[in-house]
Amino acid sequence: MRLSSGIWVGAPTLVVALLLPLVLFTNPYNRGLLVLIVIYAVAGLSLDYIMGEMGQFSFGHAAFWGFGAYVSAKLALDLGVSPWIGFVAAPVAAGLVGLLIGYIALRRTRGLELAIVTLGFGVLAWTVALRWRPVTGGPSGLRQVPPPSIFGWEIRSELAYYYFALVLLLVVVFVLSRLRRSRFGRAVRSIHENEDLARSVGVSATKYYVIAFAFACSLVGFSGALYAHHFRFVNPNLLGLQYMFIFLIVVLVGGTGSLWGPVLGALIFVLVSEWLRVLQEYRFLIFGVVLLLVVLFMPTGVFPTMRRVIRRLVERRGSDRDANAPDADDRADRTRAG
């Protein structure tokens, strides 16, 4: 996405995001949903770094999310460390473990095999969280995780935490947009496009992939810490398949390969599953149907589909004014989507 169009869409979106808790989402419960959207958006962005940029898939991503949550919660509860340090320690710890697992897995496996291998690590992590009672608190997890505070004032209310998390989401988006354009980001994408070719021009594929994988793990660990200090508990479910499915939905429904996709996906997932709450026990049954239909009609995701439709409209209107060729970015997106 070009910078100009990014700002034209980004600035109004930001204004809307800032106003939402004051206008539409005014009670604490609804504001809590906004916090959840931001947390899922960060997790989705990190998973999309693996799926969209690396063209790979990690089925153990939720394990890193839960791991980050546990690290930060554990530090705050046992050592009385400030959540701020937890927000740094969680991504560092998740990144280090990601480095190790990425090194083991990415040397030899790619694609669906990698998905299965990472699933294996994820399941193991979940079992450890469930069973290692003295450290993880067993099935009930850890409670009363403290919220972070600024100058002695606790960020406890949903409103405050939402703005706090939103700022961090913006930082994450900024870092990712820079990273994608950096030498490193381009090297990762070149491996995605053609690994043999990238290797032949001297890009050490495994090295770049392991680092990129660890980076994504560290980012999702950060999202996990955000979750732990807002909802103020952690339990083994956070590492399990349930959240893995949620992140998968966030990324694939939103659309891979862009920064907007996962954010939009998080918004859609949280709102739709909330709206379906009125259906009570039929909720997740209908959710499955909706999911299937979305994937059927928008297999590349909501954001890329939306963008294509809007571009087509704009092109049709502007075709007699100036016959501008589609920019390189657009073409790259299309090839990646296909």
């Binding site: 030899r108 496996t109 069973r131 998968l248 939905i249 994937v295």
Partner: protein, 287 residues
């Protein structure tokens, strides 16, 4: 050492291992032929168990009639699984198919919870006598379970190796385009693959009720175990999945008896991790 205990645990492990074998064989078959990770495989097994409960307690059918009916119905449903949740999504990225099968598993699990509730349901077994063989207590239902599992897996093996359909199936799994070029109807092969896999999953379901209760929640843990088996064996290798399923079932029981009951569940994953460290592609994986 008390050898009776060892043999008892070998038997118990054989029961679990048989379920792992038949479950993982179907999961591995779908991956090997279609390169699809079927996240709904566990729910198909669950559906088999729950439907058996309904046809036996609701319609009053006997165990064998009911089980045969359920397996046939579920095999036919495999055709729908392919046409509704797999085939429409195959042209896109491999991940899209994972998501569509996730959607299917959402629907089946939550639909079943609506229909049957989350309470476990007991199914009447045809016979359940306890026989003492040497110092080992063996149930007749358990013997039936083991016998049917291995007959089914042997049948699958013979089908894959000795029939024309099996040859077509293996050719499609090895090279989809090549198979099409020589005139194999790959659509029909995909249909059959899911019909067989769904039937095997349901068979696992109707056999599970011989040793435990039927519950809508039995699918997910089984899926995880199934993945552990196919990871150790190597994805897509059906024969490997059979050997590993059996081995893991038996050693898991021995581990539970002699090392730690508490960490028994963790045993599978520890083996899995060791294999992943040494051979990420699995014991029988290619590459």
């Amino acid at each position: 050492m008390n050898w009776d205990i060892v043999f008892q645990q070998l038997w118990n492990g054989l029961l679990n291992g048989s379920i792992y074998v038949i479950f993982a064989a179907g999961l591995s078959l779908v991956f090997g032929v279609m390169r699809v990770i079927n996240m709904a495989h566990g729910e198909l097994t669950m559906l088999g168990a729950m439907l058996l409960f309904t046809v036996t307690s609701g319609l009053g059918l006997g165990y064998f009639t009911g089980a045969a009916l359920v397996v046939i119905l579920m095999a036919l449903a495999g055709f729908l699984v392919n046409r509704v949740t797999v085939r429409p999504f195959l042209g896109h990225s491999e991940l899209v198919v994972i998501l569509s099968t996730v959607a299917l598993s959402f629907m089946l699990l939550n639909g079943s919870l609506v229909v049957w509730g989350s309470e476990p349901k007991g199914v009447d077994e045809p016979f359940n006598e306890i026989v003492k063989v040497g110092g080992v207590y063996v149930t007749t239902a358990g013997m039936l379970l083991v016998g049917v599992c291995f007959t089914a897996v042997l049948g699958l093996y013979l089908m894959l190796t000795h029939t024309k359909l099996g040859k077509k199936t293996r050719a499609t799994g090895q090279n989809l385009l090549g198979a099409r070029l020589i005139g194999i109807n790959t659509t029909a092969v995909y249909d059959t693959t899911l019909i067989v896999a769904s039937g095997l999953a349901a068979l696992a379901g109707v056999l599970i009720v011989l040793v435990s209760a039927a519950s809508p929640n039995l699918g997910q843990p089984l899926l995880i175990t199934g993945f552990a088996v196919v990871i150790v064996a190597g994805m897509g290798n059906v024969a490997g999945a059979v050997a590993v399923g059996l081995f893991l079932g038996v050693t898991e029981a021995l581990f539970g008896q002699f090392i730690s009951t508490y960490y028994r569940q963790g045993y599978l994953y520890v083996v899995m991790i060791i294999v992943l460290l040494l051979r990420p592609q699995g014991l029988f994986g290619r590459r």
